[in-house]
């Protein structure tokens, strides 16, 4: 999974790489212990793991909302510590666990991402995430949870990212809204984007993942740990 390889005549390239990454919190606790991982381009990779396993921290390293205490994170082969973080963050978009509508209308929210976008571009982006372009004048705070999360995805898409990070984006949504966001993520991948999706929900991982990486206590799980995690989760879900 994820290695640079030729598969069925199609070259699978790596978009995101972690090399011996450690992260230490301000209080000295080590959150990630030497992660080595590659994320292939044009696929939906799920980072699964229990709460506190370090999956969100791992995700936030990709757009430098976190920085490693040791090791390197590379996006398309470039060390992110050597990139302008503001440029990096427009290449690596992120949608957060809870919807984060800003004060103002949907239009004003979208213009935070792209101040020069015209009405047609704003409407098209809303349509891309399944929202009615007529919603541009709606107050963002009045949207339902599912609508707000889709608007947040639209906001991120306006920066034209190559890689989209989705951090437990459906955890505060009801099942229909959850499925809608999952479908949108799969559509993005079908359109050629790469999505890294964090979840603790194994059933969801099985529904949407092209590849699944399991984290246990800040490490990539060994084969045994992965089997145990999947079994434990299956029991809990069952």
């Amino acid at each position: 999974m994820g290695e640079k390889a030729a598969t069925l005549g199609r070259v699978v390239t790596t978009v995101l790489e972690y090399e011996g990454v450690h992260v230490t919190a301000a209080d000295g606790t080590e959150l990630l212990h030497g992660i080595d991982l590659t994320v292939p381009d044009g696929r939906l990779t799920v980072l699964a793991g229990a709460s506190g396993s370090g999956k969100s921290t791992l995700l936030r390293l990709a757009n430098r909302l976190e920085v490693p205490s040791a090791g390197r994170v590379l996006v398309r082969g470039q060390d992110v510590s050597e990139l302008d973080p503001l440029v990096l963050r427009r290449r690596v978009g992120m949608v957060f666990q809870r919807p984060t509508p800003f004060a103002g209308s949907v239009r004003e929210n979208l213009r935070v991402a792209e101040p020069t976008a015209d009405e047609a571009a704003l409407g098209d982006t809303l349509a891309r995430v399944g929202l009615d372009p007529e919603m541009l004048d709606r107050v963002a705070d009045d949207l339902s949870g599912g609508e707000a999360q889709r608007m947040c995805l639209a906001r991120t898409l306006l920066t034209e990212p190559q890689l989209v990070l989705m951090d437990e984006v459906t955890s505060s949504l009801d099942p229909p809204a959850r499925r809608e966001i999952e479908r949108l993520a799969q559509d993005l991948v079908a359109d050629g984007l790469t999505v890294v999706w964090v979840t603790h929900d194994l059933a969801q991982a099985e529904r949407i993942a092209d590849d699944t990486v399991v984290l246990v206590d800040g490490r990539c799980a060994s084969a045994d740990e992965r089997t145990r995690f999947l079994a434990d989760r299956s029991e809990e879900d069952g």
Binding site: A26, R64, L86, V87, R89, R90, G93, F96, R98, A103
Partner: protein, 260 residues
Amino acid sequence: MSTTAIGWGGLVASLTLVAVAVALSGWQRLHLTRTILWSSARAAAQLLAVGVALALVLDPDASLVWSWLWVVAMVAFAGITVRNRAREAPGIFGLAVLSMATVVTVSLGVIFGLGIFPVQGRTIIPMAGMMIGNSMTSCVLVARRIVGELSDKRDEVEARLALGQAWPVASRPYVRAALRTALIPQIESTKSVGLVFLPGAMTGLILAGVDARDAVVVQLAIMYLVLGSVATSVTVIGLGLTRRLFTPDHRLRPLDRAPA
């Protein structure tokens, strides 16, 4: 001024009102008797000590250097007070000292530069004291609000950073809200002065026998200076503190949220 010198007898007589406060506390079982007595005694000791020191510094034969040193001490104490009351704000002592020094420089520069008051110990110290005292409260308020806003709205701030906004832009709506919160009480108090309350400087001047119209003119000048001082200090703290809460690579640092 002999008409307004109340003397020791007058001071002792005024203790009657402390006795009233003690009696009310006892009657309502507020358990504040000791606190009231301690606060009253402490205020007396502090003010008497300050009075003795001020008498020396304000002596017409004393060098103005002593007055300026007094101002420096006030700035330092204001920094300590702000730090003690806004501990959740990192590096707040240095910022508060910088903010107070800016306020003193700007306000005394205006007062003496434009010839509003003469450069004398009896103008330097009270003027600096009023500017610093008013600014101090606003500085505490704005520091606590900024840390609180950015802590409460961390998700939103990080969502803005994740869209490629630089920290000064990403934090602007929240810092602006905090600055407004800190400035509005001073603006409201400027608006209602004379209608709802008579401010301290004017009351003091009238009690000292100064003509009410002259007292009003002095008070107005002070009110405007205080308003400018508060705006200056709050802005210095706001911008300086916000810079400290972000890393140079546009990440929001972990924040401690102080108990309300």
